[in-house]
Amino acid sequence: MSSGISPQDVVKALRAVKDPDLGRDIVTLGFVKDLEVGDNRVSFTLELTTPACPVRDQLLAQARAAVAALGVSNVDVRMAAQAPQRPDGHSLIPRVKNTVAVASGKGGVGKSTVAANLAVALQRAGAKVGLMDTDVYGPSVPVLMGGSDAPRVVEGKIEPPIEYGVKIISMGYFLPKDEAVIWRGPMLHKTIHQFLGDVRWGELDYLLMDLPPGTGDIQLSLSQTIPLTGAVIVSTPQDLALTVAAKAIAMFQKLNVPILGIIENMSYYLCPQCGHREEIFGHGGAREAAQKFGFPFLGEVPLDPSIRVHSDNGKPVALDDSTAYGKAFQTVAGALAAQVSVANFQTAQDISIE
Protein backbone atom coordinates (compact mmCIF):
# COMPACT_ATOMS: atom_id res chain seq x y z
CA MET A 1 0.00 0.00 0.00
CA SER A 2 2.89 2.33 0.65
CA SER A 3 3.79 2.48 -3.02
CA GLY A 4 1.46 5.48 -3.09
CA ILE A 5 3.64 7.46 -0.69
CA SER A 6 5.70 10.23 -2.22
CA PRO A 7 8.72 12.04 -0.78
CA GLN A 8 6.42 15.06 -0.41
CA ASP A 9 4.14 13.04 1.88
CA VAL A 10 7.11 12.12 4.07
CA VAL A 11 8.36 15.72 4.20
CA LYS A 12 4.87 16.88 5.13
CA ALA A 13 4.68 14.33 7.94
CA LEU A 14 8.13 15.31 9.23
CA ARG A 15 7.10 18.97 9.38
CA ALA A 16 5.05 18.03 12.42
CA VAL A 17 8.24 17.28 14.38
CA LYS A 18 9.53 20.38 16.15
CA ASP A 19 12.87 21.03 17.82
CA PRO A 20 11.82 22.32 21.26
CA ASP A 21 14.91 24.55 21.64
CA LEU A 22 14.89 26.15 18.22
CA GLY A 23 11.11 26.30 18.03
CA ARG A 24 10.94 25.28 14.38
CA ASP A 25 10.21 22.01 12.59
CA ILE A 26 13.01 19.69 11.53
CA VAL A 27 12.35 20.16 7.81
CA THR A 28 12.52 23.97 7.96
CA LEU A 29 15.69 23.68 10.06
CA GLY A 30 17.27 21.57 7.31
CA PHE A 31 17.84 18.56 9.58
CA VAL A 32 16.33 16.05 7.12
CA LYS A 33 18.83 14.91 4.51
CA ASP A 34 19.24 12.11 1.92
CA LEU A 35 15.58 11.20 1.88
CA GLU A 36 14.81 8.03 -0.04
CA VAL A 37 11.34 6.63 -0.47
CA GLY A 38 11.03 3.04 -1.75
CA ASP A 39 8.49 0.26 -1.66
CA ASN A 40 7.14 0.31 1.91
CA ARG A 41 10.49 1.72 2.90
CA VAL A 42 11.63 5.22 3.90
CA SER A 43 15.17 6.16 4.83
CA PHE A 44 16.71 9.51 5.66
CA THR A 45 19.44 11.17 7.71
CA LEU A 46 18.56 13.37 10.63
CA GLU A 47 21.43 15.83 10.90
CA LEU A 48 21.35 17.77 14.18
CA THR A 49 23.25 20.98 14.96
CA THR A 50 25.21 19.36 17.79
CA PRO A 51 26.33 15.83 18.68
CA ALA A 52 25.43 16.66 22.30
CA CYS A 53 21.79 17.40 21.46
CA PRO A 54 19.72 16.74 24.62
CA VAL A 55 16.56 15.98 22.61
CA ARG A 56 18.26 13.66 20.14
CA ASP A 57 16.31 10.56 21.16
CA GLN A 58 13.05 12.48 21.36
CA LEU A 59 13.46 13.85 17.81
CA LEU A 60 14.43 10.43 16.49
CA ALA A 61 11.38 8.75 18.06
CA GLN A 62 9.02 11.49 16.87
CA ALA A 63 10.41 11.43 13.31
CA ARG A 64 10.08 7.64 13.19
CA ALA A 65 6.51 7.75 14.50
CA ALA A 66 5.53 10.50 12.05
CA VAL A 67 6.68 8.41 9.07
CA ALA A 68 5.31 5.16 10.48
CA ALA A 69 1.91 6.86 10.79
CA LEU A 70 1.85 7.05 6.98
CA GLY A 71 1.71 3.26 6.96
CA VAL A 72 5.38 2.66 6.24
CA SER A 73 6.67 -0.35 8.16
CA ASN A 74 10.35 0.01 7.33
CA VAL A 75 11.68 3.36 8.57
CA ASP A 76 15.44 3.74 8.54
CA VAL A 77 16.78 6.88 10.22
CA ARG A 78 20.50 7.59 10.35
CA MET A 79 21.62 10.11 12.97
CA ALA A 80 24.33 12.66 12.21
CA ALA A 81 25.44 15.93 13.73
CA GLN A 82 27.19 18.90 12.26
CA ALA A 83 27.66 22.18 14.09
CA PRO A 84 26.91 24.89 11.52
CA GLN A 85 29.62 27.23 10.35
CA ARG A 86 28.75 30.71 11.61
CA PRO A 87 28.91 33.66 9.24
CA ASP A 88 30.92 35.59 11.82
CA GLY A 89 33.80 33.14 12.19
CA HIS A 90 37.19 34.75 12.63
CA SER A 91 40.28 34.53 10.46
CA LEU A 92 42.45 33.74 13.52
CA ILE A 93 40.52 30.49 14.10
CA PRO A 94 38.78 29.84 10.78
CA ARG A 95 37.78 26.24 11.49
CA VAL A 96 36.50 26.73 15.01
CA LYS A 97 32.73 26.77 14.78
CA ASN A 98 31.75 27.94 18.25
CA THR A 99 33.63 29.80 20.96
CA VAL A 100 32.18 29.70 24.46
CA ALA A 101 33.59 31.64 27.42
CA VAL A 102 33.11 30.04 30.83
CA ALA A 103 32.98 32.94 33.29
CA SER A 104 31.88 33.74 36.80
CA GLY A 105 32.89 37.15 38.06
CA LYS A 106 33.79 35.78 41.48
CA GLY A 107 36.73 33.42 41.96
CA GLY A 108 36.56 30.02 43.57
CA VAL A 109 33.14 28.98 42.28
CA GLY A 110 34.57 26.12 40.23
CA LYS A 111 34.79 27.66 36.77
CA SER A 112 37.79 25.61 35.70
CA THR A 113 36.34 22.37 37.04
CA VAL A 114 33.08 23.06 35.24
CA ALA A 115 34.90 24.07 32.03
CA ALA A 116 37.08 20.93 32.04
CA ASN A 117 34.10 18.64 32.69
CA LEU A 118 31.94 20.34 30.07
CA ALA A 119 34.76 19.90 27.55
CA VAL A 120 35.00 16.19 28.38
CA ALA A 121 31.21 15.73 28.33
CA LEU A 122 30.90 17.42 24.92
CA GLN A 123 33.76 15.34 23.57
CA ARG A 124 32.15 12.14 24.82
CA ALA A 125 28.92 13.13 23.10
CA GLY A 126 30.89 13.07 19.84
CA ALA A 127 31.90 16.71 19.37
CA LYS A 128 35.36 18.00 18.47
CA VAL A 129 36.36 20.09 21.46
CA GLY A 130 39.14 22.43 22.50
CA LEU A 131 39.77 23.89 25.94
CA MET A 132 41.68 27.14 26.27
CA ASP A 133 42.83 28.11 29.74
CA THR A 134 42.87 31.91 29.62
CA ASP A 135 43.72 32.22 33.31
CA VAL A 136 47.34 33.16 32.68
CA TYR A 137 48.09 33.92 36.35
CA GLY A 138 46.44 30.85 37.85
CA PRO A 139 46.25 28.15 35.18
CA SER A 140 44.51 25.05 36.54
CA VAL A 141 43.48 23.19 33.40
CA PRO A 142 46.73 21.13 33.12
CA VAL A 143 46.10 19.73 36.61
CA LEU A 144 42.39 19.12 35.98
CA MET A 145 43.00 17.37 32.67
CA GLY A 146 46.01 15.38 33.86
CA GLY A 147 48.42 16.44 31.14
CA SER A 148 52.08 16.92 31.81
CA ASP A 149 53.79 17.16 28.42
CA ALA A 150 54.74 20.61 27.21
CA PRO A 151 53.23 21.45 23.83
CA ARG A 152 55.51 20.98 20.84
CA VAL A 153 56.14 23.80 18.45
CA VAL A 154 56.06 22.74 14.80
CA GLU A 155 56.82 25.26 12.07
CA GLY A 156 56.10 28.17 14.39
CA LYS A 157 52.72 26.80 15.48
CA ILE A 158 51.91 25.22 18.82
CA GLU A 159 50.57 21.65 18.73
CA PRO A 160 48.03 21.55 21.57
CA PRO A 161 48.31 18.52 23.88
CA ILE A 162 45.29 16.21 23.66
CA GLU A 163 43.84 14.78 26.88
CA TYR A 164 40.72 12.60 26.82
CA GLY A 165 40.21 13.66 23.21
CA VAL A 166 40.18 17.39 24.09
CA LYS A 167 42.77 19.76 22.61
CA ILE A 168 44.17 21.92 25.38
CA ILE A 169 46.25 25.03 25.73
CA SER A 170 47.29 26.64 29.01
CA MET A 171 50.00 28.89 30.38
CA GLY A 172 50.59 26.08 32.86
CA TYR A 173 52.30 24.06 30.12
CA PHE A 174 54.94 26.70 29.52
CA LEU A 175 56.10 27.36 33.07
CA PRO A 176 57.79 25.26 35.73
CA LYS A 177 55.32 24.49 38.55
CA ASP A 178 56.75 26.95 41.06
CA GLU A 179 57.21 29.86 38.67
CA ALA A 180 54.68 32.65 38.43
CA VAL A 181 53.56 34.92 35.63
CA ILE A 182 53.94 38.53 36.79
CA TRP A 183 52.67 40.60 33.92
CA ARG A 184 50.76 43.73 33.08
CA GLY A 185 47.86 43.94 30.66
CA PRO A 186 49.53 44.22 27.24
CA MET A 187 51.38 40.92 27.75
CA LEU A 188 48.09 39.20 28.57
CA HIS A 189 46.59 40.54 25.38
CA LYS A 190 49.47 39.09 23.36
CA THR A 191 49.09 35.72 25.06
CA ILE A 192 45.37 35.54 24.28
CA HIS A 193 46.11 36.44 20.68
CA GLN A 194 48.76 33.68 20.49
CA PHE A 195 46.52 31.11 22.17
CA LEU A 196 43.98 31.77 19.43
CA GLY A 197 46.08 32.28 16.34
CA ASP A 198 49.29 30.36 16.96
CA VAL A 199 47.75 27.12 18.25
CA ARG A 200 46.89 24.44 15.72
CA TRP A 201 43.27 24.02 16.81
CA GLY A 202 42.19 22.55 13.48
CA GLU A 203 38.51 21.89 13.09
CA LEU A 204 36.52 22.23 16.32
CA ASP A 205 32.81 22.19 17.07
CA TYR A 206 33.39 23.93 20.40
CA LEU A 207 36.30 25.88 21.82
CA LEU A 208 35.63 26.40 25.52
CA MET A 209 37.51 29.20 27.22
CA ASP A 210 38.10 29.01 30.93
CA LEU A 211 38.26 32.65 32.07
CA PRO A 212 39.94 34.04 35.16
CA PRO A 213 37.69 35.75 37.71
CA GLY A 214 36.83 39.38 37.22
CA THR A 215 36.03 41.75 34.38
CA GLY A 216 39.47 42.87 33.32
CA ASP A 217 42.17 42.62 30.69
CA ILE A 218 41.72 39.00 29.67
CA GLN A 219 37.93 39.15 29.39
CA LEU A 220 38.21 42.33 27.36
CA SER A 221 41.00 41.03 25.09
CA LEU A 222 39.08 37.87 24.37
CA SER A 223 35.82 39.67 23.65
CA GLN A 224 37.61 42.14 21.39
CA THR A 225 39.78 39.68 19.49
CA ILE A 226 37.06 37.26 18.33
CA PRO A 227 33.28 37.38 18.08
CA LEU A 228 32.41 34.96 20.89
CA THR A 229 29.43 32.70 20.28
CA GLY A 230 28.46 33.31 23.87
CA ALA A 231 29.33 33.10 27.53
CA VAL A 232 28.29 30.71 30.26
CA ILE A 233 28.10 32.01 33.82
CA VAL A 234 29.08 29.65 36.63
CA SER A 235 27.94 30.59 40.13
CA THR A 236 27.54 29.06 43.54
CA PRO A 237 24.04 29.56 44.98
CA GLN A 238 24.75 32.24 47.59
CA ASP A 239 23.99 35.94 47.14
CA LEU A 240 27.64 36.96 47.40
CA ALA A 241 28.63 34.93 44.32
CA LEU A 242 25.51 35.95 42.40
CA THR A 243 26.11 39.63 43.07
CA VAL A 244 29.55 39.34 41.47
CA ALA A 245 28.18 37.13 38.67
CA ALA A 246 25.85 40.02 37.81
CA LYS A 247 28.97 42.11 37.07
CA ALA A 248 30.23 39.52 34.60
CA ILE A 249 26.79 39.46 32.98
CA ALA A 250 26.82 43.26 32.70
CA MET A 251 30.24 43.14 31.06
CA PHE A 252 29.19 40.59 28.43
CA GLN A 253 26.04 42.54 27.69
CA LYS A 254 28.07 45.68 27.19
CA LEU A 255 30.31 43.76 24.76
CA ASN A 256 27.26 42.31 23.00
CA VAL A 257 28.25 38.72 23.86
CA PRO A 258 25.13 36.53 24.27
CA ILE A 259 24.70 34.87 27.67
CA LEU A 260 24.06 31.19 26.90
CA GLY A 261 22.96 30.40 30.44
CA ILE A 262 23.81 30.05 34.10
CA ILE A 263 25.16 26.93 35.85
CA GLU A 264 24.82 26.42 39.60
CA ASN A 265 27.91 24.75 41.00
CA MET A 266 28.28 23.39 44.56
CA SER A 267 24.51 23.27 44.53
CA TYR A 268 24.15 20.89 47.49
CA TYR A 269 26.04 18.22 49.42
CA LEU A 270 24.81 14.66 49.90
CA CYS A 271 26.27 13.10 53.05
CA PRO A 272 27.70 9.70 52.06
CA GLN A 273 27.12 8.44 55.64
CA CYS A 274 23.45 9.21 56.13
CA GLY A 275 22.23 10.53 52.79
CA HIS A 276 21.30 13.87 54.33
CA ARG A 277 21.24 16.70 51.83
CA GLU A 278 22.98 19.79 53.11
CA GLU A 279 22.64 23.02 51.14
CA ILE A 280 25.89 24.59 52.21
CA PHE A 281 25.67 27.74 50.09
CA GLY A 282 21.88 27.70 49.90
CA HIS A 283 20.20 26.24 46.86
CA GLY A 284 18.47 27.46 43.74
CA GLY A 285 19.98 30.96 43.85
CA ALA A 286 21.45 30.63 40.36
CA ARG A 287 18.16 29.33 38.97
CA GLU A 288 16.36 32.34 40.45
CA ALA A 289 19.01 34.68 39.06
CA ALA A 290 18.64 33.08 35.62
CA GLN A 291 14.90 33.69 35.78
CA LYS A 292 15.36 37.25 36.96
CA PHE A 293 17.78 38.09 34.13
CA GLY A 294 15.85 36.04 31.58
CA PHE A 295 18.65 33.60 30.75
CA PRO A 296 18.41 29.82 30.43
CA PHE A 297 19.29 27.85 33.54
CA LEU A 298 21.59 25.07 32.33
CA GLY A 299 21.59 22.89 35.43
CA GLU A 300 23.15 22.27 38.80
CA VAL A 301 26.26 20.37 39.88
CA PRO A 302 26.49 19.10 43.47
CA LEU A 303 29.39 19.67 45.84
CA ASP A 304 31.13 16.38 46.37
CA PRO A 305 34.58 15.24 47.48
CA SER A 306 34.75 12.82 44.55
CA ILE A 307 34.61 15.72 42.09
CA ARG A 308 37.52 17.32 43.93
CA VAL A 309 39.53 14.08 44.11
CA HIS A 310 38.99 13.35 40.42
CA SER A 311 39.95 16.93 39.55
CA ASP A 312 43.14 16.81 41.59
CA ASN A 313 44.06 13.51 39.94
CA GLY A 314 43.49 14.89 36.48
CA LYS A 315 40.55 12.59 35.74
CA PRO A 316 37.41 14.73 35.34
CA VAL A 317 34.27 13.05 36.74
CA ALA A 318 32.52 13.61 33.40
CA LEU A 319 34.61 10.72 32.02
CA ASP A 320 32.27 8.31 33.80
CA ASP A 321 28.62 8.90 33.04
CA SER A 322 27.53 6.05 35.27
CA THR A 323 28.00 8.31 38.32
CA ALA A 324 25.54 11.00 39.40
CA TYR A 325 28.23 13.66 38.90
CA GLY A 326 29.18 12.44 35.47
CA LYS A 327 25.50 12.54 34.54
CA ALA A 328 25.09 16.04 35.99
CA PHE A 329 27.84 17.38 33.72
CA GLN A 330 26.43 15.51 30.74
CA THR A 331 23.03 17.13 31.29
CA VAL A 332 24.56 20.59 31.62
CA ALA A 333 26.71 20.02 28.50
CA GLY A 334 23.62 18.99 26.53
CA ALA A 335 21.74 22.09 27.69
CA LEU A 336 24.72 24.26 26.77
CA ALA A 337 25.04 22.69 23.30
CA ALA A 338 21.33 23.36 22.73
CA GLN A 339 21.76 27.02 23.69
CA VAL A 340 24.74 27.37 21.34
CA SER A 341 22.50 26.12 18.53
CA VAL A 342 19.83 28.63 19.55
CA ALA A 343 22.43 31.43 19.58
CA ASN A 344 23.56 30.41 16.10
CA PHE A 345 20.04 30.89 14.82
CA GLN A 346 19.34 34.11 16.68
CA THR A 347 22.48 36.14 17.23
CA ALA A 348 25.05 35.26 14.57
CA GLN A 349 26.27 38.54 13.13
CA ASP A 350 26.95 38.86 9.46
CA ILE A 351 28.47 42.32 9.16
CA SER A 352 30.07 43.36 5.90
CA ILE A 353 32.54 46.20 5.61
CA GLU A 354 33.27 47.63 2.20
Binding site: I226, P227, N256
Partner: protein, 114 residues
Protein backbone atom coordinates in the same frame (compact mmCIF):
# COMPACT_ATOMS: atom_id res chain seq x y z
CA UNK B 1 18.84 42.31 20.84
CA UNK B 2 19.80 45.95 20.26
CA UNK B 3 20.40 46.81 16.59
CA UNK B 4 23.85 45.99 15.15
CA UNK B 5 25.29 47.01 11.79
CA UNK B 6 24.47 44.74 8.87
CA UNK B 7 26.51 46.62 6.31
CA UNK B 8 29.18 49.28 6.72
CA UNK B 9 30.21 51.38 3.74
CA UNK B 10 33.44 53.22 4.45
CA UNK B 11 33.33 55.33 1.30
CA UNK B 12 29.68 56.05 0.68
CA UNK B 13 30.43 59.24 -1.23
CA UNK B 14 30.46 62.89 -0.21
CA UNK B 15 32.98 62.19 2.57
CA UNK B 16 30.59 60.02 4.52
CA UNK B 17 30.50 56.57 6.10
CA UNK B 18 27.15 54.79 5.95
CA UNK B 19 25.87 52.06 8.29
CA UNK B 20 22.83 49.97 7.43
CA UNK B 21 21.48 48.60 10.71
CA UNK B 22 19.89 45.23 11.44
CA UNK B 23 16.58 47.00 12.18
CA UNK B 24 16.57 48.66 8.76
CA UNK B 25 17.70 52.13 9.88
CA UNK B 26 20.42 53.83 7.86
CA UNK B 27 22.95 56.24 9.35
CA UNK B 28 25.15 58.58 7.32
CA UNK B 29 28.16 59.95 9.18
CA UNK B 30 30.34 62.72 7.75
CA UNK B 31 34.00 61.74 8.33
CA UNK B 32 34.76 64.91 10.32
CA UNK B 33 31.75 64.37 12.53
CA UNK B 34 32.81 60.80 13.31
CA UNK B 35 36.43 61.68 13.86
CA UNK B 36 35.63 64.57 16.18
CA UNK B 37 33.73 62.07 18.33
CA UNK B 38 36.59 59.55 18.46
CA UNK B 39 36.10 57.66 21.75
CA UNK B 40 39.81 56.98 22.43
CA UNK B 41 41.28 58.20 25.70
CA UNK B 42 43.45 60.89 24.09
CA UNK B 43 40.63 62.40 22.03
CA UNK B 44 38.14 62.23 24.90
CA UNK B 45 40.63 64.12 27.03
CA UNK B 46 41.16 66.74 24.33
CA UNK B 47 37.45 67.21 23.81
CA UNK B 48 35.79 68.04 20.51
CA UNK B 49 37.57 70.61 18.33
CA UNK B 50 36.19 74.15 18.44
CA UNK B 51 33.21 74.52 16.13
CA UNK B 52 34.28 77.94 14.91
CA UNK B 53 37.85 78.51 13.87
CA UNK B 54 39.31 82.00 14.07
CA UNK B 55 38.39 83.90 10.95
CA UNK B 56 35.05 82.11 10.60
CA UNK B 57 36.20 79.65 7.92
CA UNK B 58 36.94 76.40 9.76
CA UNK B 59 37.06 74.43 6.54
CA UNK B 60 40.31 76.11 5.55
CA UNK B 61 42.11 74.65 8.55
CA UNK B 62 41.08 71.08 7.85
CA UNK B 63 43.14 68.53 5.98
CA UNK B 64 41.25 65.89 4.00
CA UNK B 65 40.56 62.80 6.09
CA UNK B 66 38.99 59.43 5.39
CA UNK B 67 38.89 55.94 6.90
CA UNK B 68 41.64 53.89 5.21
CA UNK B 69 40.06 50.70 6.54
CA UNK B 70 38.03 49.38 9.46
CA UNK B 71 37.85 46.19 11.47
CA UNK B 72 35.22 44.64 13.68
CA UNK B 73 36.11 44.41 17.37
CA UNK B 74 34.59 41.23 18.77
CA UNK B 75 30.83 41.46 18.48
CA UNK B 76 30.29 44.97 19.75
CA UNK B 77 32.39 47.61 18.03
CA UNK B 78 34.16 49.02 14.98
CA UNK B 79 37.75 50.17 14.90
CA UNK B 80 38.42 52.81 12.25
CA UNK B 81 41.92 53.27 10.84
CA UNK B 82 41.94 56.90 9.71
CA UNK B 83 44.07 58.07 6.79
CA UNK B 84 46.21 60.24 9.10
CA UNK B 85 47.30 57.18 11.08
CA UNK B 86 44.98 57.56 14.06
CA UNK B 87 43.25 54.27 14.98
CA UNK B 88 42.93 54.17 18.76
CA UNK B 89 39.20 54.77 18.83
CA UNK B 90 36.91 51.77 19.26
CA UNK B 91 33.42 52.82 18.27
CA UNK B 92 30.93 50.60 20.10
CA UNK B 93 27.83 49.85 18.02
CA UNK B 94 25.47 51.36 20.60
CA UNK B 95 27.54 54.52 20.66
CA UNK B 96 27.53 54.72 16.85
CA UNK B 97 23.77 54.35 16.89
CA UNK B 98 23.49 57.16 19.45
CA UNK B 99 25.69 59.31 17.22
CA UNK B 100 23.39 58.89 14.20
CA UNK B 101 23.04 62.42 12.83
CA UNK B 102 19.77 61.92 10.93
CA UNK B 103 16.94 64.35 11.73
CA UNK B 104 14.78 61.61 13.22
CA UNK B 105 17.45 60.39 15.68
CA UNK B 106 18.47 63.95 16.54
CA UNK B 107 14.86 64.80 17.38
CA UNK B 108 14.59 61.66 19.53
CA UNK B 109 17.76 62.58 21.41
CA UNK B 110 16.56 66.12 22.05
CA UNK B 111 13.22 64.86 23.36
CA UNK B 112 15.03 62.45 25.67
CA UNK B 113 17.36 65.18 26.91
CA UNK B 114 14.49 67.53 27.46
Amino acid sequence: MPPVPAKIKLAAGNNTLVIQWSDGHESTYPYRYLRSRCPCATCEEAGPPPEQAVGGLPILGQKPLHPARAELVGRYALQIFWSDGHSAGIYAFDRLRKLCPCTECRALRETAAW
